[in-house]
Structures are given as C-alpha cells and as structure tokens.
Symmetry: C2
Subunit: 421 residues, 2 copies
C-alpha cells in the first residue's frame, strides 16, 4: 500500500533542524512491506498545511503526518486536521488526565497551554504516546487515513512502531507479522555484498523475505525483512535465508541485530576473563572511545595510550626510543611491551603511516595492527585510501575487527574491499 509522509514545522522547512524523522519513517514502512510514495515538508502555516493535507489525500490512501502536536501557538496539526476533516476539536478527557498525572509524578503543575494537546478532531482515533505529552491520532480526510505523530524523535519512533505500522498493515489488508533481521559487516562493499547474496531471497520456501542494504562506512548493514502469518511462520521463512546470509558473508559479519562490533569484542574478552590495553597513533583515541565508555568496561579496558610520535608511544608502553618507523616488527614489539606494562591479558597496538602531502581523496595510509596475548604474535598490515578522515575511520574498524577475529579464532588477514594489495 502506498503511504505518504508529511513533515511539518518551520525548523524542518528552513533547515535549522535536520530532518532525521523522515528517513526513520520511510525505512520502517519499507521494512513492513509498505511503499513510501511521496514526501512533503511544510512550515507552521495554516494554508500550506491544509493544501498539503488535501494533495496528500488525493495521492495515497494513507498519510503519516509528523510534528505540530506541541502545546504552543505554532503547533497547528490538530486544528488543521479538524478543518480538513470538517469536524470540531473536542477535549479527549482521558489524555488530559494522563498529562496532569504526568506532571504530578514529576512534582509539577501542568502549564495551562498543555490542555491544547488533549484537543482532538471529533471522532478521531486516539494513538497512545507512553513517553510524552503529545498524543497521536488518526482521522479520515477526503478518503485517506491520516496518522498524526509527534516530532520528538523517540516519541515518534515508538508511536510509528507500536501504533501506526500495525494499523497501516491492517488498512492495507496485510495480515501477519513483520520481522527484520540485521547483519553488520566490515570489509565488504555494498555492490559486492549484493553479488555475494544473489538469489538468497528465493530460499524462503513461499517467499516473503526481502533483502536490503544500508552502507555507513566502514560498516555495511544487510537487512532481511520477512513477513509471515505469525511469528513462527516468519521465523521459518527467515531461517534458511538467514543461515545462507551468515554462511556467505561469513567472517565479515561483525555483529547481528542490536549488537555492535565493540560489544562483541568486549563480550569475547569478558567470556575468557581477559582484559585489554590499546596503543594508538593516528586513530588517536578513536579505538579507546569505542570500548572504554561501555557499562562494565572498567575492569575489561585496562589502559589506552595515544601518541602521534612513535617514540612517545613507545615510552608510554615502557620501551626505549628507537630509530625505525612503523613496521610489523615495531608493532609487534609495542603490543608485547604494552601487555607487560599494563598487566592486561591482551594488548592491541595500531600504527598508521599516512602518505605525504595535503589531505585529498586519493591520500593513502598504511595500517599496522598488532595483537599480543602471550601466544604467537599477530600482525595485520593493510593499505587504505580516501583521505585522512576515511583512513582514520577505516583503521579504527580494522583494528577492532582484527581483535574480534583473533578472539573468536578467525583468520585476521582476509582481504577487505577497502584495501589495495
């Protein structure tokens, strides 16, 4: 079923606030098997809103409106929804009581202008907002069903997932449930992943599985959206496809679903009662910043050292100055010394030798990753390109991934798409 998305508000229209809500809503529609067909952005303006509502109603059977449900005079969604639907605004008593209770629990009195948030078009269907004062509602305007949602991102997300999507699926005659399985990988570009996964959707016996990608360098997210008559049906359709994706992407999958690469690394360390020390140059604390802030990382992440000068880094790990630059041997020695000084069971040393010259898209760098754990030393070397920021992001991910591979007993030097050999 075709669904329009209409975002409202002067802050969005003028670019003062970047509109991230649109992308979330569109993605969730696609994952649920619905079709985002048109997007509009209008300001806090009565005539523009009315025109936008009417145009959207003429184009699609369902419209999601985001924003304009707040307590201030420029929040116009309820008013214009009532006008477009040809009804009056009426007080929704239960919501007024919920808001008063919301304030009472915080030992505050509800400001009088919040009452406006409980005025809904007569006959509107109430959409719950368990975490804010802007309730949503659904109303029919010129034959199309309109779903009004709050602009605050976390309130919008919950209402879209729990209230809007199920109603859209029902309206579109889509029965059953939707599930999205996610794989996070590092080292494979989108076009190669697309080739590698060619035909996997067909492995679902009766179909219902849709493959999609979202690239956010240096990781790639591979999504399988599945529809089934119930949870068990969805799971059984998904199972063969999920297993095949896991088999084909193999060691490049760094985490699944809500997990992260850094979370997987910390869990692997925790599982073996291990601890970690990290030495960094150009990644400059970027590796530490992924691991150390996690809840419970106090004991796992023992120590990080950052220096741009190799001798400073050596000194921090208790080594004397040396004359050679970054090399596999220097990386290995640094990791071993850091392990000893810090008392950690594992040490990760990451050196980056940037090419000479000004920053540019063609700029490259050599990344050296060393891991010491008391066993045979591990060193991984790679050439990355794309300018300073790109190299730094890639080196951080490569280092964390090498550590993950080493901890999980996987080969650390499988070639990745971003490196040139």
């Amino acid at each position: 079923m075709r669904v329009e998305i209409l975002c409202t508000g002067d802050e969005i229209l003028t670019g003062k606030t970047i509109n991230t809500n649109y992308g979330y809503i569109a993605q969730r529609l696609v994952e649920a098997g619905l079709e985002p067909c048109w997007g509009s952005t209008v300001g806090d303006d009565r005539e523009a809103l009315l025109a936008a509502f009417r145009q959207a109603a003429a184009r699609a059977p369902a419209v999601i409106v985001n924003g304009g449900l707040g307590p201030t005079v420029d929040d116009l969604s309820q008013e214009i929804a009532a006008r477009a639907a040809g009804v009056d605004l009426v007080l929704h008593e239960p919501w007024l009581q919920r808001m008063e209770e919301f304030y009472r629990r915080r030992n505050r009195v509800m400001p009088p202008n919040n009452r406006k948030q409980a005025l809904l078009p007569e006959g509107a269907e109430f959409l719950d907002n368990p975490i804010g004062t802007a309730c949503g509602f659904a109303v029919t305007i010129e034959g199309a069903r309109f779903f009004f949602t709050p602009g605050v991102p976390r309130e919008m997300r919950r209402m879209i997932d729990e209230q809007v999507i199920p109603r859209l699926l029902k309206q579109g005659g889509v029965t059953g449930v939707t599930r999205v399985k996610r794989f996070h990988s590092f080292g494979i570009g989108e076009s190669r992943a697309d080739q590698m996964l060619d035909g996997v959707e067909a492995l679902a016996a009766d179909g219902g599985v849709k493959l999609g990608f979202q690239a956010h360098y240096p990781q790639l997210e591979t999504k399988l959206a599945v529809r089934g008559s119930d949870a068990a049906d969805a799971a059984s359709r998904l199972a063969p496809v999920e297993a095949e994706v896991r088999r084909r992407l193999g060691n490049f999958i760094v985490a699944e679903d809500e997990l992260t690469l850094e979370g997987v690394v910390l869990a692997a360390l925790r599982a073996r009662n291990a601890s970690l020390a990290v030495a960094e140059t150009f990644t400059a604390g970027g590796i530490a910043a992924r691991l150390a802030p996690a809840q419970g990382a106090e004991a796992l992440f023992r120590r990080g050292i950052v220096a741009r000068d190799l001798d400073q880094l050596r000194a921090g790990a208790g080594l004397a100055a040396a004359t050679d630059g970054p090399s596999p041997a220097a990386t290995e020695a640094l990791a071993a010394a850091l392990r000893q000084t810090s008392g950690a069971s594992h040490a990760l040393a990451v050196l980056v030798a940037l090419d000479e010259g000004a920053d540019r898209l063609e700029l490259g760098g050599t990344i050296l990753v060393g891991i010491a754990d008391g066993g045979p030393p591990v060193v991984r070397q790679a050439r990355l390109f794309g300018g300073r920021d790109w190299i730094r992001l890639g080196a951080t991910e490569l280092a964390l991934d090498c550590l993950r591979r080493h901890l999980l007993g996987l080969p650390v030097d499988e070639q990745i798409d971003f490196e040139r050999r």
Copy 2:
C-alpha cells in the same frame, strides 16, 4: 522570494540514504534572505516527477531540484524537465568535451552512458560543476524558474553557493552581497543566548542583519546573516552587531567562523611552543580524538592515557595506587605527574564520577578537570546531567574549554548552563 526544494531519488524517498542535502539548501536560502516555502521528495518515477514539477511551479516562482542527473537509466531529471518545459533534449557539446577531458586526465575512457549527462533541455541555461560529471541547468517550466543540481553533496553544495544563489538573488531583484558571520559557543543554551542577544540586530544602522541559532550539543552556533550593497557595505553593517555579540557572549565564544575549539587550543599551544599530555577516564579517548589527529599535531600532542580505573590511570602517569576516588586533589596530582612523565609543558587530567544506577535521562556525573603547566594548579569541578552519552560529550567539551580558557588567560570556572551547582 519564495523558493521550493524538490529532492528526487528512490534512495532518498525510501530512507535508504538520509537526506542531508535538503537541510543544506534550505539553510543557504535563509542565510541569503530567501524563503524556503515547501519541500517535496519523490522517487525515480516519470509521472511523480512530472506532477511534482507542475505543483511546484504553481506554488513558487523558483524551484531547486536536487538529484537525478547521473548517467544511469533511473536518472530522469533532464528528460522530465524537457517534457515539462515542452522542449527536446539537445546535446551540450562543451560539457561532453569537458567530461571526456575529465576521464582523459584520469587515464580512463569515458563510458558511453555518461553522454546522457550532456543532454540538456533545449534553451536551458548551463550551470557549471567543476568537480563532477553532472552539470546543472536552469529552465523555465510553467512560469517558474527551475534549477537542477546534482545529488552528490559536495557537488551540490558548490553549485548552490556559486551558481544557484546568485541567480535566485538576481531573479528576486535582491541586489548586493550576503555574508554570514558565525560564533561557536560552549556553555550557553539557545534560549539564554536569545535573551542575551536581545536587540543586537537593531545596532546595524540601516538594518540588514538577521540573527539565528543552531544548537548542536554541547555547542551552540550563533549566526549573523548580513546583506549589503557590496562587501564593504555588508562589513560596515555587520561590524557593530558582530562586536556586540562578541562582547555579550564574551568568554563563552570558543571559536569563530571556520575555526573549532580544538583548533583554537592547538593554535594557543603552538603559539607558545607548548606541548600537551592528556589523561582521561570516562571521556575515554574522546578528548585525544579531538586534538591528536589534526595535521601537525605530532609535536604538540605528546601523549594521551585512557583508563576507566583510577589506579590504572595513575600507573600510566607514573603514580602509585591510592585509596581515594576522584577528587580535586587527585586530579591535581594526576595532572602534575602526567606532565612530568610525558615531558609535555602542559598536562590535562579529566576524571568523571558517574552516579550509580542504570543509564537514564536524569543520570548525573561529577566532572573534574585539572591542568598542570608548572604554575599554580588549576582545577575545575562541575555536575552535569542527561545520561551517559550526554555527560561524556559535555565532559569532553568542558575539558577542552577549560584548557582554552587557561591558555588564553580567561577564568576557567564561569558557570555554564548545563551544570547544576
């Protein structure tokens, strides 16, 4: 003058790519004194594009279209522009030659489908793209002037600034030049800044200056957009307002225009031939990551140490374990010891004591910032709230700002809006 923004492409429509181009275009229009009045997003679909062009033409005298100028079959902007304008597509010879040369310089042969990018609606005005193969063009459709721009962000930005905005100003009869002056501050919320700067716009003798804000926690950007008959006129209108903003926001301004807080800190260190070492706990490399990757930071940024456990941090700075937790005295001692071990002229120690319990919006933390430079010790203490991520971001900024203030001879303990005393 009212201007519409029309973004095209299935990737944008379906939320696969987050649309950051819209916000850039809208902001630039506002800064130039133009009025973004409506935004639309449509997919790579002939009928939808045609309908969107016609509706936009009916609403505004000028429309910016973004995307759809690529070489592939789903790039439809030229084709639908020609159809809507009622003209044929004709080959723009000079652009074909430029593209062939573009490929020749890279020792490659132009793929045949790139030829499509030189087909423009007959009579269209050419808009140069000096950094890509998608040229822009302007054409009149049903009385409105349409400006077609590429979807690649850096190509779009340059074309909007250099080609589109000047033409829009001319079309709208807006003569003269626009300039935007930016102040980056830390420690003042948007609503307080708005109060503090009340009336500053009126200081421009004949007007022409517009005040605006953009909050990106923990910094706030204050913008002055000025219009003048020429550069000298714009500068003279801006001068009294700019001086007054600088006076009122005072020490809270961390940088202006293209400069950054970390850049100002590095410049202040460089100016006095100083060098820096940093010890971090919960900010976990976040402070090092702001300073160390900069070009030329090799000598300035001597060493960073990260540990979540205070004794590990002490050990990294050459201190024995101690029984006390984070305190002003412990922070002072850590900074002094780090300065000695690292050989840096300045040492910054940043300790964070998070409140107990699960992450939540009300979670607070105590931040301790210590600076050692051989003179009297400096310690700043603050309580921040807002959950783990918010506290980490705030602590990183607070520490960098304390160092900036100390290096520039400003008081380090002026209360900021985000702290509770």
